[in-house]
Symmetry: C2
């Protein structure tokens, strides 16, 4: 808790415009969700959080109330077990929809304040493209490049919107564990810069770079 | 955190045989689940925890490693939104199985150390009976009586095993908020005793009481 507090405080000092996402994947019934929202936004002052919406609408509703705070719902994970339930076909419109698509559709319905995003893994580019197609204007938080081995190029192409934006491609362990030695700070900085440059390189190739747009 | 620490410590002092369940519904990818398991069992020393298995097998595996600790997986909740996803029909064996039953079956498969239980709400006696029938020997943690308004009698009959055991019928807010006044401690004690007596009364009626068995 102290390390987290100092980390948040340091980021606010040196990069006041940086968006801080509290990746805690909270998911509980309404009254508990309300207390978690108070902790994540009121106490920790995160700009956005990740949530686990297995419990349905009332488990995420308290997080949505402040339209200035973002909520990334865990839709289709990057981890090995994510397919166990999230890829099951459910009775939807038509033939049977994968559960992660049902989650994306529910989130689109709940998104009346425009502050919902979705977590979809870089390790599953097919699912990532499907979610992007269902939710063309929603921010996607994309873990799984770096330590988890997802392919960056396909993640950028499948995850971005038509303008090459709205994808937050995240590397956690690939950055914070970039070096086990005393040079960990510079190694982390280099790993983060390399990832940024690789993302921007794909965007440039597609004519969607930050300078060309 | 301090209140929780003092509460756990007090229970260990006055009721060393009581089972303490950390109802935190943690659910994240494998490496994060491992850190949460360490926190819940190693730091907090809870006897059992609740988990949210939306992330699939690797999101609960680290919790299962110590066979002396229990893991209650959130299967079918008591809250209003629980049906949003948990009741969806999935392509299973045969005609389509509700997702909560797919969760119960997966947990039965994962239960090689015999330390998994399931959370199923008292507010949904049909689903409770279905889970009990699928998992005849598994402990069920049953929230939703008391503050959430579930019917106690049907919860006892649908949730217990054939011997009238293995159901943990839980009231949280109904006990801790039994009185807003200075008598909160005695009011909580009375609320807990009343609930226990009501459960036992149903078991007695069915010839499954603690003395008669």
């Amino acid at each position: 808790m102290e390390a987290l507090e100092r980390t948040v405080s340091h980021i606010r000092d040196v990069a006041p415009d940086a968006v801080i996402i509290g990746d805690a994947k909270r998911g509980d019934i309404g009254p508990s969700a309300r207390a978690y929202a108070k902790a994540m936004f009121g106490f920790w002052d995160f700009d956005a959080v990740t949530v686990n919406a297995w419990g349905g609408s009332d488990s995420i509703e308290p997080f949505l109330e402040d339209p200035t705070r973002g909520v990334f719902v865990w839709c289709r994970g990057s981890n090995p077990g994510s397919g166990d339930f999230q890829d099951l076909l459910v009775d939807g419109k038509g033939e049977g929809t994968p559960l992660y698509e049902a989650m994306a559709r529910a989130c689109a319905d709940w998104n009346t304040s425009g502050n919902i995003g979705l977590v979809v893994g870089a390790t599953v580019p097919g699912q990532l493209a499907a979610v992007r197609s269902l939710c063309p204007d929603m921010p996607l938080l994309i873990p799984g490049v770096g330590a988890q081995g997802g392919e960056l190029e396909s993640a950028v192409r499948a995850g971005c919107d038509s303008k090459g934006r709205l994808a937050l491609i995240n590397s956690s362990r690939g950055v914070i564990y970039a070096s086990p030695s005393a040079d960990f700070a510079s190694a982390a900085s280099e790993a983060a810069s390399r990832l940024r440059d690789s993302i921007n390189h794909v965007l440039e190739q597609d004519g969607l770079g930050w300078l060309s747009s």
